[in-house]
């Protein structure tokens, strides 16, 4: 397991625990028992002694020892035999065997039978200290793993999201209660069973198959949204599904992790919100459309001749109405787009072609405004794991903003490079810039920078919030640097796909 979390116990607590490390010395030579005891006591261990294997086994049966120093050659039961019994009955106990000089064969036999290490006589206090320290590190690692497992299990069992892991053969390795509840499983423990026993939903099974098929050098996260109708009563639920393969240090697939989230409420709220905005936009559009045509009819002098002044005023009014009609269309588009963000499909994407497409697409608008729109040559960019439509939306919003907020004769430059593990795209303009106290607010919904320069720029105040939520949904971020009167640079960072 990767070391994601720091060890559970503080170092002091560990020290305290190891002061109490108990060692049993089983040796028929009292001198050795004595020397070892003295030395280990000095190091702060609890030490007990036994003069032969029988006595040693009796003590091991009575209480737990972390480490046993076991002489192989003793009268009565041999150390090797005692080792076998200890290993089978107390697998947690670490056994270090003591062998006579030039009896390496015995040591090898003992190691084969599960001894942790050996000391050959004669040994120095340093030799002893070394081998015991090593054993304690081993015990500590085992404890860490066991603590980690316990912590992991507790954590997973108390998550409100469903979590399930399979091995490479699609057998269930782990599944929390939330998972079983969300997939509506009511049978016995599914651990060790084929995943089909636990999961009946074909969409989830298909994601698991796909996740296992992802090439080892590629990172992939598969998502889907499914509806599960529980047996018997109970309302159907909308479940967001994410499935990823997990790998060992050599990037070999070990299995899959599937995470489920009940997104029923979010989806319903989303729907209500979208319906509301769509309704408002529609209701506004109809009358605006009429007014626009009425103005047109008057401007065309179909209702009698106009004075120059009347024509001028009506002309300006028409522009405003036109802009409002466009705005209502934009709002409708945005609601459609936003509701799709909750659980979108990501794929490996090369950003280079998307950048050139977007630059080309917006060049006419920039030209019409007397701006230079340039795309810096894009170096070899690593691909990213992203949703294509979302990326186009992000770029389109940033470039449109740059064009809208830059006066005639200005310049909008698009560039991309790699920053550590991230791909960075920058859209820089030589426009009005944003005041420092406004910078904090520009990512807030419906917030718009209003001053004498930007008054005539039409927008919803939703463009940048959308950029931000898309970037967050992609584990990326958006940053802005701006100086009033000089221009702004928006940078978006996306994690490079492995």
């Amino acid at each position: 397991m990767a070391q994601l979390l720091p060890p559970i116990t503080a170092p002091d607590a560990n020290d305290a625990a190891f002061k109490k490390t108990s060692v049993l010395i089983v040796d028929d030579e009292s001198r050795i028992r004595h020397v070892c005891t003295k030395m280990l006591n000095q190091e702060g261990y609890d030490v007990a002694q036994a003069p032969n294997a029988e006595a040693g086994l009796a003590m091991v049966a009575q209480s737990h020892y972390d480490i046993i120093l076991l002489d192989l050659l003793m009268p009565g039961m041999s150390g090797l035999e005692a080792l076998g019994k200890i290993r089978s009955e107390h697998p947690d106990t670490v056994v270090i065997v003591i062998t006579g000089y030039a009896t390496l064969d015995h040591a090898v036999d003992a190691m084969k039978q599960g001894a942790f290490d050996f000391l050959s006589k004669p040994f120095s206090p340093q030799d002893l200290r070394l081998v015991v320290t090593k054993a304690i590190e081993y015990i500590r690692t085992l404890q860490d793993i066991s603590n980690e497992k316990s912590r992991m299990r507790t954590m997973i069992n108390h998550l409100s999201g469903g979590v399930m892991a399979t091995d490479i053969h699609k057998k269930v390795a782990l599944a929390n209660h939330a998972f079983m509840n969300l997939v509506d499983y009511r049978g016995p423990s599914p651990i060790g069973e084929p995943v089909q026993q636990l999961v009946a939903q074909p969409q989830i099974l298909s994601l698991i198959d796909q996740a296992l098929a992802i090439a080892p050098d590629q990172f992939g996260e598969l998502t889907d949204e499914i509806i599960i109708k529980p047996q018997g009563q109970g309302e159907e639920r909308i479940i967001g599904v994410r499935c990823v393969p997990f790998r060992d240090r050599l990037d070999r697939n070990l299995g899959t992790i599937t995470v489920l989230h009940d997104i029923t409420t979010i989806k319903r709220m989303d729907q209500i919100k979208s319906d509301f905005v769509a309704m408002v936009a529609h209701e506004i559009r109809g009358p605006l459309n009429s007014v626009m045509m009425q103005q047109k009819v008057v401007l065309d002098e179909l209702a009698g001749p106009l004075t120059e002044k009347q024509r001028e005023i009506l002309g300006r009014a028409s522009e405003k109405i036109n802009a409002l009609v466009n705005l209502s269309s934009e709002l409708l588009d945005l609601t459609k787009m936003e509701s799709g963000l909750a659980n979108m499909e990501k794929q490996r994407l090369a950003l280079g072609p998307i950048l050139s497409d977007q630059a080309l697409f917006h060049s006419a608008k920039a030209q019409a405004k007397g701006l230079t729109l340039e795309l810096a040559p894009v170096a070899q960019l690593p691909p990213v794991l992203a949703n294509r439509m979302n990326m186009e939306e992000v770029l389109s919003n940033l470039i449109t903003n740059a064009i809208n907020y830059t006066p005639e004769g200005g310049r909008v430059s698009i560039s991309a490079d790699t920053q550590g593990d991230y791909v960075r795209i920058r859209v820089a303009d030589t426009g009005f810039g944003i005041a420092a106290d406004e910078l904090d607010h520009i990512f807030t919904r419906f917030y718009r920078v209003k001053n004498e320069k930007t008054r005539y720029v039409i927008g919803t105040g939703l463009g940048l919030p959308i950029v931000k939520s898309i970037m967050e949904a992609h584990n990326g971020r958006v940053e802005v640097q701006s100086e009033e009167g000089k221009g702004s640079t928006f940078s978006v960072f996306l994690p490079a796909a492995k």
């Binding site: 529609h282 559009r285 459309n289 009429s290 007014v291 047109k296 009819v297 065309d300 179909l302 009609v325």
Partner: protein
């Protein structure tokens, strides 16, 4: 070319009907007006227009239904129908798939918000 053809404008917004009507009259067409699908059907029978500019969302009988009735009636199927629609990604001409999966037999369409000059072009093209 005789421009005295009769055009029926159907929409539940009287202001829209008035504006479209004025524009059409300025181009020399005669104009009839209706404000819902049922009223439109009566006008079609009484006055037999050459072309109908037909809104989709209307009370009593919507534009899709009315269009269908016109195009499936052997006496009226030659009347040109131009739909006013908010569906921007509609496919031009004869039949297109609406978001609800509906097909229409309309001859043409113009998306709302309506560009009056464009509408005049469409009308001229279809007569």
């Amino acid at each position: 070319m005789s421009n005295k053809q009769l055009i029926l404008v159907v929409d539940d917004d009287p202001d829209l009907v008035e504006s479209v009507g004025m524009k059409l009259e300025s181009k020399g067409y005669r104009v009839a007006k209706a404000y819902d699908g049922v009223e439109a059907w009566d006008k079609i029978k009484a006055e037999r227009p050459a072309l109908i500019i037909l809104d989709v969302m209307m009370p009593r009988k919507n534009g899709y239904v009315l269009c269908d009735e016109i195009k499936k009636n052997k006496d009226y199927k030659d009347i040109v129908v131009v739909l006013l629609t908010a569906v921007a990604d509609a496919v031009k001409n004869t039949s297109y798939t609406h978001m609800d999966g509906k097909n229409t037999l309309a001859d043409d369409f113009i998306p709302k918000p309506i560009d009056l000059d464009k509408l005049m072009e469409i009308v001229a093209d279809n007569l």
